[in-house]
């Protein structure tokens, strides 16, 4: 009897554990279904033009239900801000995200606005080892309550795939896979590695990635050191490293990459599959997993080997990227590896000339295909509740290829017109996604397609800090350091204002900045003067206004603001944007220059110039719908007693 009982228990215990793991339990079901497609950067003007061309029949079908509506975006119209508006139903004064970049008010050190890693509190030191007594944690900096909490509170299933500005994901009852804002394994927004023995490619620049010089010592073998995340268990946090051996066969124009016991053959021009790599923090005891893809750009005569940013392995994530924690591995087991970083398209590698236009597009299609596979997989499993799916491809690819759409782009003449077709093709792919969502629509299903902003050309760069210096709002004391980041050239004691981030301008306040020079009582007058001066800046090349509106933050967002909030938000005119140099506090010679970066489209301008899109099977009943209304409106499609507080219900004629 005893033995029988034991055998029974032995057989059932793991079964019960696994059953719990695989989610046999069902949540309360709702008959209503809402599919929300979040298409970053879907532009109303381009969309209308492609619908008229007849290449987006499904979008045209959807406009037949509720029209093609412009959707008011955030101010500033940057994706982290806009998606935070969508999630919380409120503006930056509530969710706290004002720009891609924030700064510590006292020291002006910049940091990513959406999340931060907090290292382990206490450690024990043994030689140069550091053993943590408490774990490191990642903190989501977006505040405010997500609108879907009102749905999950009522037992309505909610799934959000590649949700922006939600890394680490909210710990509620919704199923979430983090999207925009998820870093790579090195903590950046995407840092490639490029191995080369071509001296022309080697530079000290670290923007977007690193170029590593390698050498063949006559045995046709290159030893490539791949740097992983920092090792917080060693003194000084050195980067963990693994080695890959690349054995080239120049006659075959192919190579074998040997890495951690596995081999991969790649011919020139080929991409590898996802390769899993383990980095040892403490050998045999603690390690982290990462995934990366190689691209064999060239073998003969020189080796040029690109390695994608090391992504968090969805099968064994080193940082939390999904709720519940096992959701990402569930997807990876079904679909294989996929990009987990928030900005999967490697725009920096294109900007730096590491990848050509053609190669970049190949990579972008890989990303889109992965995303489509993920979408099909999840759509086929969707039964009831709300299903949100986010696509980044339009946004990042139009950033890079707006130069083929606008004849006024300084790069228009040097870019092959065939890439114009690539944008049309991308829109057509998105149309096929809309078609699939409409295919599963029944009487109880609503389909909503929305974007966070539209697009505009970025032909001219405005060096905000240079302008401030030229107008006497700041003083440059070290002209030879003008091009260095983080205000190396500036004299803080005679600086009244400075620009940092894409749309942000700050007053150098004596009561906030360590080296502040403006007394609190002078701030308002200074802001009014700055607003007047900025709104009258014209481009000497064309005579056009550069800035449509300079918004005083406290006027558009009344109430208490956090001390990291900008004092002014610059709403650039169409074709203009702050320069890359402005975003990190340097002072190029000229105030306005041609934008020669392949990043040729932008939305970080005046919000009125770049509205988003709203297509829906439910008709909006109010004028001027806004992103902030969407959470309440989506929740309002379900039969729940309490709607989220932010925004209006646009599907209700009263907007309530």
């Amino acid at each position: 009897m005893k033995r029988r009982k034991f055998l029974k228990l032995a057989a059932l215990s793991p079964a019960a554990l696994l059953a719990l793991k695989t989610g046999c339990a069902r949540t309360k079901s709702s008959a209503k279904r809402v599919i929300v497609l979040g298409i970053d950067g879907l532009d109303p003007f381009l969309l209308r033009s492609f619908i008229h061309e007849g290449v987006m029949p499904n979008a045209a079908r959807l406009t037949g239900y509720g029209g093609l509506n412009r959707l008011g975006t955030s101010n500033p119209p940057q994706s982290p801000v806009a998606w935070s508006n969508f999630i919380t139903g409120y503006g930056p004064n509530v969710h706290g995200i004002f720009d891609f970049i924030h700064r510590k008010p006292s020291t002006i050190d910049p940091y990513l606005s959406t999340s931060r890693v907090i290292g382990p509190g206490r450690t024990i030191s043994i030689s140069d080892w550091r053993l943590p007594l408490s774990g490191a944690k990642v903190e989501l900096l977006r505040k405010g309550e997500p609108f879907w909490n009102k749905l999950t509170d009522e037992g309505i299933p909610v799934k959000l795939v590649k949700l922006p500005v939600d890394f680490p994901p909210d710990k509620g009852k919704a199923t979430i896979l983090s999207g925009l804002g998820t870093p790579d394994m090195r903590g950046s927004q995407g840092s490639f590695t490029f191995f080369t023995d071509d001296a022309r490619s080697i530079s000290n620049s670290t923007s977007g990635g690193v170029v590593v010089a390698v050498r063949d010592y006559g045995d046709n073998c290159y030893r490539c050191s791949i740097k992983g995340p920092e090792n917080s268990m060693r003194a000084g946090n050195p980067e963990m490293e693994i080695e890959a051996e690349v054995r080239v066969d120049r006659i075959a124009n192919a190579a074998r990459i040997d890495i951690q016991g596995n081999s991969y053959v790649l011919a020139a021009g080929e991409w590898s599959p996802w390769i899993r790599m383990r980095f040892d923090a403490i050998p045999h005891i603690s390690s982290v997993s990462a995934i990366g893809r190689f691209y064999m750009k060239e073998i003969t005569p020189k080796l040029n080997l690109y390695l994608s940013p090391l992504n968090i392995d969805p099968l064994d994530p080193a940082l939390p990227i999904s709720t519940p924690a096992g959701y990402s591995s569930d997807l990876a087991r079904n679909l294989g590896g996929f990009y987990t970083q928030g900005f999967p398209e490697d725009t920096k590698a294109l900007s730096r000339g590491i990848l050509s236009d053609e190669e970049y597009l190949q990579q972008a299609w890989i990303v889109l295909q992965e995303r489509l596979d993920l979408f099909h997989h999840e759509l086929s499993r969707f039964r009831d509740g709300m299903f949100f799916f986010y696509f980044s491809s339009l946004d990042l690819n139009i950033h890079m290829f707006y130069r083929v759409l606008d004849p006024n782009s300084p790069l228009y003449a040097t870019t092959s017109p065939r890439f114009k077709g690539a944008i049309r093709e991308l829109y057509m792919k998105i149309d096929s996604v809309i078609g699939q969502a409409l295919e599963v629509k029944d009487a109880n299903t609503e389909v909503i397609v929305l974007s966070d902003h539209g697009f505009a050309p970025f032909n001219r760069s405005f060096n905000l800090n240079t302008w401030l210096a030229s107008e006497g709002y700041s003083t440059i004391t070290s002209p030879n350091q003008r091009n260095q980041d983080m205000f190396a050239a500036i004299d803080w004691s005679s600086t009244a204002a400075y620009g940092l981030g894409i749309n942000s301008l700050f007053i150098n306040r004596a009561d906030r900045e360590d080296n502040g020079s403006v007394a609190p009582e002078q701030v308002q007058d200074l802001l009014i003067r700055l607003k007047r001066d900025l709104e009258s800046v014209t481009d000497p090349a064309s005579g056009r206004r550069v800035i449509d509106n300079a918004y005083i933050t406290s006027e558009i967002y009344p109430g208490p603001l956090p001390d990291y909030a900008p004092d002014m938000i610059i709403g650039y005119a169409r074709c203009y944007r702050s320069s890359w140099e402005t975003t990190l506090g340097s002072f190029p010679e000229e105030v306005i220059t041609d934008n020669l970066d392949k990043w040729s489209g932008t939305h970080c301008i005046d919000p009125a110039a770049v509205p988003g899109v709203l297509l829906s099977t439910a008709s909006p009943g109010v004028e001027n719908p806004n992103l902030m209304d969407m959470g309440r409106s989506i929740a309002g499609l379900f039969d729940i007693p309490v709607l989220p507080p932010g925004g209006r219900n646009i599907f209700d004629e009263n907007g309530s």
Binding site: K2, R3, F6, L9, A10, A11, P14, L17, L18, K21, D219, N220, C221, R247, D249, I251, A252, N253, A254, A255, R256, N262, S263, Y264, V265, A267, P273, R276, L315, D316, A325, G326, S329, R333, G336
Partner: protein
Amino acid sequence: MVLDILLLPFRSLPSIWGLLFISLLTGIGMISIFRLTSNQEKISRLRKKMLGEIFGILLHVSSPATVMKFAGRLIWSNTLYLLYIIKPLLVIAIPFMLIWGQLDARYGTDIVDQNTSVTVTVEYEDSLPERDNITLIGNGIEIIQPLVMVDTLRQVSFRIILEDGTIGSLDVNGTSSTVGKTGTWNGALILRGFDTENSLKRLFCPWVDKGVVSGDGPISGWYSLKTVRYEVLGGHWSWLAVFLVFSSISAIAGAKIFDVKV
């Protein structure tokens, strides 16, 4: 063969079930072998004696001489204990290693899907043949060019795709071997390479196929397969971790239930 029969009910279930079953069974099996091959009476007596010696130390902590006396006895008892368990451990070691190899071959790696290629590397005994003289013939396998020749290591690498996603055969310059999975079910053997030498190695490493030589072909080869991890209790475990943990749990439970003195 025995494992194939034992795993019969688990063929259509996810691999973890078969692995758990064999792990639990192994724990029970090992403890049963231990019981049969050890002198339970002697072990029982020795354990009681050791317990007495531990109590002796605890009761006489204020008398260093007595503590030393009991500690000396305890060390001797431990030595005797090790001698008592050597025989059963040696008897257990062989089936344990056989099972280890079998489980590693069945649950350690997985073949990739039909659309993804696997890199094959073959090694020649002396020098590499001329590129044009390398002949590759696949049966149920699509061979993807180019060949990467690594002269310094006498190796040639290339990619293959298993056409039906399970099994095929490969012939390189007359050396033929099987690639893939020996069955379509979960828990079937997955081959990771071949060796043309006759050796006992294959008994303990069943993932190595016996390559058949009929020419100047390579002497060995291996395939780059993906390692499998299993999601158990919120963690990602290797097959070995699953095996060690669950076989230990069942061995401990078995010892308790069957009153085995370990």
